[in-house]
Every structure is written in C-alpha cells, then in structure tokens.
C-alpha cells in the first residue's frame, strides 16, 4: 500500500484501473473531466488495460457501457449533473438489462441558473432507476467504493448497475492523502467478471426483447428482490474489504457516535465529514450528539434508520437538494421508514449547501441547537422544512 496525494477525480481513475475495468466509455463534463482525462492517460501509457471509447454524449457513454457489459466485459463510466440527467433513459436500461456497470457521478447542481458546484439533485433524481448508489465523504472512500461497487454489482444475487457519488470540488478537485491498495489485494477481493448471460455468437440469445404484461411484472419483481438482497451483499463486501485493508464504511450506513446519541443529524457527502468534528466539540461540552452519514441511498438503509429511531430524541435530516414538492429526498425517505416502525422521534428537514454553498462547523452547531429546541418546544416559524440560510431580511447570523 502506498500513500499518495490524490484529488477525488484521480482517486476515481485509479479506482477504475485497480478494479481492472476493461471498457471505459465517457464524455467529459465539469467537474468530472479530469477523471476521463486521467483514465485516457492511464490507457495510453499502458498502465490500464482497457478499451477507451470516445463517445458523443453521456447517453452514448452508458449505451456503450451496457453493450460492453453484455459481452461480459467490466465497464466503467463517469459523469456529472446534466450528463447524468441525459443518461437517465439508459440508466433505466442498464438496470433492467441487469448489467453491472459502475459509474462515478460528481455531484453538481442542475441548471439553470448555471452552476458547476456541489449539489445532490443529480443523483437523487435517479432514485427509482434501479441503480445502486454509494456516497463518499473523502477521496479514500471514492477509490475504495469504485472497487466495492463492482463486487456488489456483479454479485449473482444482485446484478444491477452501481453509482458512486462524490461532491463537486469538495472532493473532485481537492487533494488529500489516499492509501492506494496493491493490485494483488484488489485482485484477491475482486475476481474477474463472469456472467453466463452474454452476447456470444456461438450461443445466440435475445436481449431487450418485447415482453407481454404477465412476464414484465415478474422481471420487475425480480429486480426489486435483487435490490433488497444488495443490502446483505453490501455489508459483506464492506466486511471483506475491512479484512484486507482495515477500512470499513459502516456497511449500509456510516454512524458516528450514534449509539447513545439523543440528537442525530443524518445527511450525505462531504458536509457530514465536517459535522463529525462538531460532534467531538459538542461531546466535550457534555451533549449527546451523533452523525449518521448516508453511505448507500439505493437500496435505502431501512434497518439503520430504525436503529436511529430507537435511540434519538430527534433526528435532523440534511438535504443538499429539494424535491420541489415537499421536503428533501432524505427527509421523506427517513420519515416513511419510521412510520410503520412503532417508534418515530421528531424529525426536521434542513435544506443546506444547495448549489455548493459551504456548510461550516458553525452551521452544524446551530442546527444541533435548533433540533434540541424543536424537540422541547416544537417547530418554529420555519415549520418542519427549513431552508437554512436563505436570505429574507431576517436571516439569523448563525445561518449565514
């Protein structure tokens, strides 16, 4: 193992190389561009034994990845924001076709207004596509997750595409130390991709054929069950990685000091890494607080949410996006997982960091204060969905 200073995008490219991706089809988009540039370099230098396919759009990038996967090759692509949105139709196809393609999405805001900064709307809008979603908080986790994503996606009980999410600039362009595992370790963890259902001229099969209503629903039911089975496969993959490298991401959820926590904040991405420092500070002041960081969005961490529900007085759910209907996606999912559980502490939704606004330690401290107040006195004028730091002339100092 060698420790290197890598940006999130470099960690992504090296993750794909270590996972021995055999076909890479990608189209550049800020802030993902340096991923595909780096992979192109690695292929050109002969360090990565892959076929690099230049395509004219993200739609084609995923289409080529599906075709490659159909032949039994390990396929990789990367995109961001509008690129992921353009990929939407084919993401559905990749899932339905049960092709374990792995893609990395650099989370970036959707326009307009035009932006290149961190925001979770792109990925969370793919909630229902049938794509497994991992979420990273640092560059190490990005690299490890690319490798783990193949392990999970290619499992015979799963066979679904997987997406690894990393925040624009806060990870993609940030350099930090990354332990680069030896190729032998990765090979030991991740055997070559093998599938019996593949394009083979000597053994012709039909792919993507028309199907009648009685059979269609059976296919979707199988897909749903596979997504459910992915939970155990993810936990096992995390454990095996830990045995080899000493690194675990908590299986289905990364919990930080939640065991005895009375007030817990749940959210995704880099901001939750910052929040862990605040937990340490507040713990020193005697406050029982914890952080639950989203590690897997699809399948949703149902048991883990219910574990939190069993201990917390109140849960604050942070969404770096909005559903433009009601609440943020994590808030709505969290609430629905507790409804039939029997125990449901008060929850409040904090919409934060949208379009790359920086979420700082002082914000988390104020959010913890607000959550405690909500638990004692009920919701304030903002109600249960609070757009944090929105300028309306009366915005409190701690929200700015």
């Amino acid at each position: 193992m060698v420790k290197k200073l890598f940006t999130g995008n470099k960690a992504t490219a090296y993750g794909a190389m270590l996972a021995r991706a055999q076909v890479v089809a990608a189209y550049p988009i800020t802030p993902q561009t340096t991923i595909v540039e780096r992979i192109a370099d690695l292929v050109a230098e002969g360090k990565m034994k892959a076929k690099y396919v230049m395509v004219e759009s993200e739609h084609s990038a995923m289409a080529a990845s599906i075709a490659a996967s159909n032949t039994g090759a390990r396929a990789f692509t990367a995109t961001s924001s509008h690129g992921l949105a353009l990929m939407h139709e084919v993401l559905m196809w990749a899932a339905g076709a049960r092709t374990p393609v792995v893609l990395v999405n650099v989370n970036r805001a959707m326009g307009p207004p035009w932006s290149v900064y961190a925001d979770h709307q792109d990925a969370m809008s793919e909630r229902d596509s049938g794509v497994i979603q991992f979420w990273a908080e640092n560059n190490q986790e990005i690299m490890d997750s690319v490798i783990m994503a193949y392990k999970v996606a290619e499992n015979k009980d799963v066979l679904l595409p997987a997406m690894v999410n990393q925040d624009a600039f806060f990870l993609s362009h940030t350099s930090e130390p990354v332990d680069v595992p030896d190729q032998e370790i990765v090979d030991q963890y991740l055997p070559p991709f093998e599938t019996t259902v593949k394009l083979d001229v000597d053994d012709p099969k039909g792919f993507g054929s028309f199907i009648m209503p009685p059979q269609y629903m059976e296919f979707r039911g199988h897909m749903a069950r596979s997504m459910d089975k992915a939970r155990e496969v993810i936990k096992k993959a995390d454990k095996e990685w830990e045995e080899l490298t000493g690194r675990s991401y908590g299986g289905m959820m990364d919990m930080y000091k939640c065991e005895d926590a009375e007030f817990i904040l749940f959210g995704a991405g880099t901001m939750m890494s910052t929040a862990k420092d605040v937990v340490d500070t507040l713990r020193k002041e005697g406050r029982k607080v914890g952080i639950a960081r989203l590690r897997v969005f699809r399948p949703f961490p149902v048991d883990e949410i219910r574990y939190l529900a069993d201990r917390a007085h109140a849960i604050g759910v942070l969404d770096r996006t909005f559903t433009f209907g009601y609440g943020g996606p994590l808030f709505n999912e969290t609430n629905s997982q507790m409804y039939n559980h029997g125990k449901s502490p008060k929850t409040k939704n904090y919409i934060v960091g949208v379009g790359g606004r920086d979420v700082r330690q002082k914000h988390f401290r104020a959010i913890f204060d607000d959550l405690e107040k909500v638990a004692k006195e009920g919701y304030g004028k903002e109600g249960e969905v609070h757009w944090w730091g929105l300028l309306d002339g009366t915005t409190p100092e701690e929200e700015l």
Binding site: L5, V116, F169, H173, S175, E176, P177, T274, D277, Q361
Partner: protein, 186 residues
C-alpha cells in the same frame, strides 16, 4: 490545524501552489488538504485556493475563513481583493512584489509581512512569459522560509515530482527562499 489561503489570478498557478505546499507538508508526514475555489475559470480573474495542514486526520471539508497565513501571488490583488479577510495577524502575509517590503506592510496595515520578487525570479528561470510569469514555485519556496511551516527540502521534493521543468522550478523556489524579506518578525 494550520490554514493557508492563496490569492492569485487565473493562470498564475495559485492552485498548483496550494497543492505543492500540501505535498511538501505531506512529505514531512503531515495530513493535508489542498483545494481551489474557482470563480469564472479564465486567465486574469481572481482565484482563491486553500491548504490545510495538521498532525491528525483532517475531516473538515469547508473552506478557510480565518487563515493563519495568506499568500498573495501578485501585488495588484491587494487593491482587488480583501486579502486580510478573517486574518488575525498570528501568522504572516506573503506578497509577490517588486516594491520595498515597508511599502507593502504599510499598504496592508499589518505588523508582519514577507515580500519576495517572485515575478523576477520566475522570468530569470524562464517560467512563463513576461505577461504571464508562473510564480507558484517561487512563492512556495519563499513561504517555506517566511513561515517555517515546511522545510525547503520537502518543498524541493514536491517540485521535483512536477511533470514539467522541475529543475528550473526548484531553482526558483530556492532563490525565493534565499531572497524573501520578512519584516516585523520576532
């Protein structure tokens, strides 16, 4: 944690400078983070970049608001940007300028300042052009001396790993290290 903020203009190499400083501290066994904050990505526009250095794992992913040190890649930025924002005078402000250090100190209104003519050093070492000198390696070399946070050997090792003109850049860093003037030091 030590937090350093860089102010530059697009094309001068502030982003690479933040990485080089991080790489140097990393070479000395520290945990580091280096990241840019791009506005409009074009030549000449003000750019901010950050480096964080600590003995323990850095989890905070937010930007730097109260820098311990500030590095200004070009003196004209002193009029364009509030380089002192959040700076509490605990560390040092390093400015690339051909002016007398005393003038820069007065202009900034701080006790301690470091000044180096990194533009001349860059041009002497054929780094960039007259209109677009690449001053980043010089600035990191000067910062090594002025702040004492990283050793010049670690800076040198980071520069020698650069893909283009490592020797010329290392020489520029060393010249800046030798020629930087610190005013108001203890």
């Amino acid at each position: 944690m030590i937090e350093i903020r860089f102010h530059g203009r697009g094309g001068q190499g502030a982003v690479v400078a933040s990485k080089l400083l991080a790489e140097a501290a990393f070479n000395e066994g520290k945990d580091v983070q280096a990241f840019p904050y791009f506005g409009v990505e074009r030549r000449g526009a003000p750019v901010t970049a950050f480096t964080k250095i600590d003995n323990k794992h850095i989890r905070d992913k937010s930007m730097i608001y109260e820098p311990d040190h500030v590095i200004v890649m070009e003196a004209s930025l002193l009029q364009a940007v509030d380089v002192k924002a959040g700076y509490s005078e605990k560390g040092i402000i390093l400015v690339n300028s051909e002016s007398e250090p005393e003038i820069i100190r007065e202009q900034l209104g701080v006790k301690k300042v470091a000044v180096v003519n990194a533009t001349k050093i860059a041009l002497d070492n054929k780094l960039g052009s007259k209109f677009q000198p690449i001053v980043n390696t010089g600035m990191v070399g000067a910062f090594s001396r002025a702040s004492g946070i990283v050793g010049i050997e670690a800076v040198d090792a980071a520069i020698m790993a650069l893909p283009r003109y490592p020797e010329r850049n290392a020489k520029a860093a060393r010249e800046a290290y030798d020629s930087v003037v610190v005013l108001g030091g203890d």
